[in-house]
């Protein structure tokens, strides 16, 4: 292959690009470490907002409604949301950070990250969205089991049910598409790993 004139060589173009002088000092880095701890705490608090709402909603539902089946459903949603807090956060905040993973290659790290994201989605679905759906199901139970006399209530709930349908479509259709993409990416990386071992 012929060599390019220096101005036409992508390597020269790349290496000679103007870069801003770094403003990172050790003090800035230590401040960032403190900010990271604060951010983790904030995220942890934010992540318990939905289960907390499910717990409050289910507790109120179990106290207010008299239908035994409905009360059982609310109690189950409450227990599920509480158990979810344990399972959802177990290990979540101790996930490997990029800086801890310098001993592994890019291929390995990238695959682990994608697998982690895929796994996290399933865990959120099971332990966070599951109780929400059960609590909503418990609320709607009289309409499902009540028959014709509850039809008026059903009509009143159409806007809410429509929003619920859109939300479920978002979770199960759009995000599932993302999951399939992640799976394809993992398969591609597995193939690359196999090729590299040969």
């Amino acid at each position: 292959m012929r060599s390019d004139p220096p101005g036409n060589d992508p390597r020269t173009i790349w290496q000679n690009q103007p870069v801003e002088p770094s403003t990172m000092t050790l003090e800035t880095i230590r401040r960032k470490a403190r900010e990271l701890h604060a951010k983790t705490r904030r995220e942890l608090l934010g992540s318990i907002a939905t289960p907390l709402a499910v717990v409050v909603f289910s507790a109120l539902g179990a106290a207010i409604f008299n239908d035994p089946l409905q009360r059982i459903a609310f109690a189950l949603a409450l227990a599920w949301a509480l158990a979810g807090q344990y399972f959802l956060h177990r290990g979540m905040w101790f996930a490997t950070l990029p800086g801890d993973a310098a001993l592994i290659s890019g291929l390995e790290f990238y695959r682990r990250e994608i697998e982690r994201r895929r796994y996290l989605f399933h865990r959120v679905l099971r332990w966070s969205i599951g109780p929400v759906l059960l609590a909503i199901g418990a609320l709607l139970l009289p309409i499902v089991t009540g028959g014709i006399e509850e039809r008026g209530a059903f009509l009143k709930m159409i806007p809410f049910l429509s929003l619920l349908g859109i939300w479920i479509a978002d979770v199960f259709v759009i995000r599932m598409r993302g999951q399939r993409e992640l799976q394809r990416e993992i398969e591609e990386l597995n193939g690359l790993e196999k090729e590299s071992r040969l």
Binding site: R2, D4, G7, R11, A33, L107
Partner: protein, 182 residues
């Protein structure tokens, strides 16, 4: 007392390793961030994150690999995480094989303005999936196949094949009157 002494010695060594790496590879890390993030604000955050994670990582540095490999691994890991976080979908990212078949909007013409060529090069890299980005960035930073293999985890043969593809793509896109990229 001995404990606190060893902690402060460890911290000093961590700071020292970080300072050396930042001095030596600071510009390369800025270029690497440009290849992963187009938005200047987000890029600044990404660079800060890379420096922070690099500093953290030196707590565990045990010289099993060279400092350069270590620095690039950390930087690429942080940047790949950034891409995964920012882009919730992979559908608009391609691998090298797919990039070869994509039409070149600029018809392979070399612009007189170096800034435009740099933008075109950056845009081309940003279309790639993270692993291929690692290979092309390492190639542009003039690394050999073995070093690229250490960073990416690909075999030298696989790296050589990818580098060859990269050369062909770059030659096609940065052609000037039939000239080829090295």
């Amino acid at each position: 007392m001995g404990g606190s002494e060893s902690i402060s010695t460890g911290e000093a060594s961590q700071d020292h390793l970080y300072r050396d790496a930042a001095d030596k590879y600071g510009s390369a890390l800025e270029r690497l961030a440009r290849a992963y993030e187009v938005d200047p604000e987000k890029r600044r955050d990404l660079i800060q994150e890379i420096h922070f994670q690099l500093w953290r990582s030196f707590q565990r540095f045990d010289a099993r690999c060279s400092t350069r490999t270590w620095v690039y691994r950390v930087a690429h890991h942080v940047a790949a995480s950034h891409v995964l976080r920012e882009r919730r979908t992979f559908s608009n990212l391609v691998n090298l094989e797919e990039l070869e078949t994509l039409p070149d909007k600029d018809q392979g013409q070399f612009a007189a303005d170096k800034r435009i060529n740099l933008e075109r090069l950056s845009m081309l890299i940003q279309q790639l999936k993270p692993l291929d980005r690692q290979v092309i960035i390492s190639y542009l930073e003039a690394m050999d196949a073995i070093s690229i293999g250490e960073i990416t985890g690909l075999s030298p043969a696989n790296v050589a094949m990818r580098v060859n593809r990269i050369k062909n793509i770059l030659a096609r896109r940065f052609r000037e009157g039939g000239g080829h990229a090295e």
